[in-house]
Subunit: 520 residues, 2 copies
């Protein structure tokens, strides 16, 4: 159960299964809504149990790692809970990744079964056939409303199959990939305890109303989406599932489906406001929308002002996969007074800024450290990376920030060089590695460039080998097979030299100044 | 820190101090209101810190046991938090107990300092002088609003004094006395983790609104009152403190001080309704009163019907000290459909009915067992009683009940023979032991008798030694020095024989049938 956990945390702490309790306490309450699909908690529990039986028949058991390559859907929600019933570990895959990237994660996580939705079935089939004995099955929502695996299991679940209806807070629920400064993705261990403490801390912070309805348009394969699935059953509230980000559809849900909380990134909120203005000029969101949780990097001032003018309760947050989403939040009342701040740490979270091995003074920048029960116990199969990131329970986030005199966090730089584009994390080192795999490229540097729509987009700087020649188009074609589309540099500039410090380390923050000297 | 805890639970789990976080997150928010006294969280944190310094100067340190003999007041609240800052252990004393009972608890808990309010100062002084080296100090609220110890410490806090601003969930916060079937009070260990999990479970169940205000008229020396102090800082909400139960004053607070939640027992709610009817005939409580948490035994149907007719949202609950108050609750929507039920277990709590060593079927009565992080790790200095009550983490409550087909709990009997009178627990064995200490008494049996005002009152049955004679008045006088007034039998009946089973065990439930045969 508690795979990969350091021994000190390996003891079990059992509490009643969240979904099961919801099915007992409020069986008829709406659990999942997605378009015409409406499942009560009793129905969701049945779906999860039926799916768990099918997965058990395929050999999934306690500790199995099961990857899921799918867009948001009710079936995704049921699948997450089905795996909990088996004590299997979910490996959610980013549908935007290239097959090369997906293949790497499937191997690294030692996945034995790859599930997909219909839209990803062809890719999943190719991936599985290249990685035998990995098998693939597709989740299909039948016209009668039930979820069936395709191909269907040839037999029923083993005789010994009994669903797990106690949750071990120290057990791993998911392995979720995130890249580091090295460019190599690492599987963050997400435990049930992290979900529990994050959900509870978030509720203490934002309030918990029994009629809440949380809209999920962030992908479930990111921590900001996955946590909504867990909160829904920890709180016993409705999750309103959107397969993709369509601002018109989302606004319709907000107006007519009782949405009270929504998690977004800045570019989404911007487009929702534009759509609102187009469809209902001058109109406000209904009063029941009590919280717009805004993550994925700092929000531009004009957007916050537009929200304030329309009475939209924006809660800015600083989160990361290793902290199971939110680690600090800023209340709507302070959105403008503390503009640019990510607010104060969640109830159970300790936050420190450290500079030169000591706690930084107010106003002094340093690395952000986090500690508490919402923080990951480490990375899957990466003891060294775990030791490096976690010392004495403190997570070195790699992000740079400072606390003001009142203890409000200001994040200056995400992981030194992290580029956040439309809420997706892009790690320069990963793009640089892909560029360097082209024979003509001698050096490569990638940084973010401000973008009015996406916040940031990546741009690349390349020095070629003296005797080589290539074009930006050729390099882009080279990258396309290796990287997700959203990671492709918006521009590739050819330069004679990259800025490096005395020890040869690439100075990515100086890259933009090269734009005056680029030879293209 | 983790005194008396079984080794398996002795590891520490640290989270940021609750009050300190409130003082940082919402410094100006009203923390405590009691008549004209209004403290913000910043002020409450200052009061607690100043008091902690004074207590440190008196030698209170980590692990010290400090008793508090006082009525509800803001000073009580500050004192609880001051002890947290010192990692000292609170021993809250029931002000209604006799000096003999108090003296016993002070010794059993190994208390080194006895604090009191002005009203209890004379008794506390006597108790301390009889139990040297126990010392006594009185908490006095000064006209300038600060709390001073009397006598004042002769010196400042020790140089090494640093307040504790991390809470160890496994550390003991309080030792709270409750009697068992044996009649000898046992000190229940209440950890910070029990408070945390109970508060969080309660919030998940009842909702958590950022503008909540919880009225405390239950005494803080009972678990139902103490938990309100902790919830106030875990939630960051206002606690409205009432020194005593005055239905007119409480109704005024509800109407004019924004009370949203109140904890009561049936007799209190009854008197509040009568006062409401007297002052404002036909009027309802304001809509902001969203939860009336009703504990202390089953509620009479006419009371529940009167509440339903007036739209009062009554949440019935089954709680006990060992479970840090609520263990199961019934939502207002089901108050009448499930009349007499205490509802369903809290989110983190497992509940089982066992009969003859196996799980009882629905509808079958048996002993109520509880398990989970809200359950006590045991009794102070009572390894044997702890082993008896707690097996494999399951608490044998001693209470009898059953679950219906839908899993709703019905409590039939509290701890076999427990009498609940106006919300106070009365243990027959304790009164019997006091009766038997009179030289004329050969046998004694005590049971509850229905009472329209208090729910139940104790009555006693006594068999005298053949050669002895005494009167009910003389026995009552004998009891008065040994027992709290509320425990005194309403009637003492002299009988020729007490009902016993074949092994000689007193059959208390057959006592009422003796009323036809009593010789008085």
């Amino acid at each position: 159960m508690s795979v990969d956990l350091p021994p000190s945390q390996a003891s079990s702490q059992l509490i009643p299964d969240w979904l099961q309790r919801c099915a007992e306490n409020r069986p008829q309450h709406l659990a999942v809504q997605s378009g015409a699909v409406r499942w009560s908690f009793a129905e969701l529990a049945q779906q999860a149990m039926r799916l768990a039986e099918q997965l058990a028949a395929l050999g999934v058991t306690s500790g199995s790692r099961v990857a899921l390559l799918a867009a948001n859907s009710p079936a995704f929600v049921a699948c997450v809970h089905a795996l909990t019933r088996l004590r299997a570990i979910l490996v959610p895959l980013n549908t935007r990744l290239s097959e090369a990237e997906l293949s790497w994660q499937l191997q690294d996580a030692r996945v034995s079964l790859l599930l997909s939705d219909a839209g990803q079935a062809a890719r999943a089939e190719r991936l599985a056939s290249n990685l035998a004995p990995l098998t693939h099955a597709c989740l299909r929502l039948q016209p009668n409303g039930s979820i069936e695996l395709d191909p269907a299991p040839q037999q029923g679940p083993p005789a010994a199959f009994t669903p797990v209806l106690l949750i071990d807070l120290n057990a791993v629920q998911a392995i979720m990939y995130t890249s580091g400064t090295t460019g190599e993705p690492k599987g963050v261990l997400i435990t049930y305890g992290m979900h529990w403490w994050n959900a509870v801390s978030s509720a203490l912070n934002l309030g918990h109303h029994l009629d809440d309805c949380w809209l999920a348009c962030l992908p479930f394969f990111h921590i900001g989406g996955l946590t909504i699935i867990m909160r829904s059953v920890i709180y016993g509230i409705t999750i309103n599932v959107h397969e993709k980000f369509d601002p018109l559809a989302i606004n319709r849900s907000i107006f007519s489906e009782g949405v009270t909380i929504i998690s977004v990134v800045a570019v989404m909120l911007q487009r929702m406001l534009e759509a609102l203005e187009q469809e209902h000029p001058g109109e406000r969101y209904p009063g029941h929308l009590r919280c717009v949780l805004l993550g994925g990097g700092p929000a531009p001032r004009p957007l916050l002002e537009a929200c304030a003018a329309r009475g939209i309760p924006v809660v800015q947050t600083y989160g990361l996969t290793e902290a199971c989403s939110q680690a600090a939040t800023l209340s709507p009342a302070e959105a403008l007074r503390k503009l640019g701040s990510a607010g104060r740490p969640l109830p159970a979270v300790q936050l420190e800024i450290r500079q030169d091995g000591r706690r930084a003074a107010p106003g002094e920048a340093g690395m952000i450290y986090l500690k508490g029960p919402t923080i990951t116990p480490g990375y899957a199969n990466r003891p060294e990376a775990t030791r490096e990131a976690l010392q004495d329970g403190w997570l070195a986030t790699g992000d740079i920030g400072y606390l003001d005199e009142e203890g409000y966090l200001y994040v200056l730089d995400r992981r030194s060089d992290l580029i956040i584009s439309g809420g997706e994390n892009i790690y320069p080192a990963e793009i640089e590695a892909a560029l360097l795999s082209h024979p003509a490229v001698a050096e490569a540097g990638v940084c973010g460039q401000p973008d009015p729509q996406w916040g940031q987009v990546p741009i690349a700087f390349v020095r070629l080998h003296p005797d080589q020649t290539t074009s930006a188009e050729e390099l882009l074609a080279h990258l396309q097979t290796r990287l997700a589309r959203y990671k492709l540099p918006r521009a590739i500039h050819f330069v004679a030299e990259l800025p490096r410090n005395s020890s040869g380390k690439l100075l990515r923050r100086q890259l933009p100044s090269l734009l005056n000297h680029a030879v293209d």
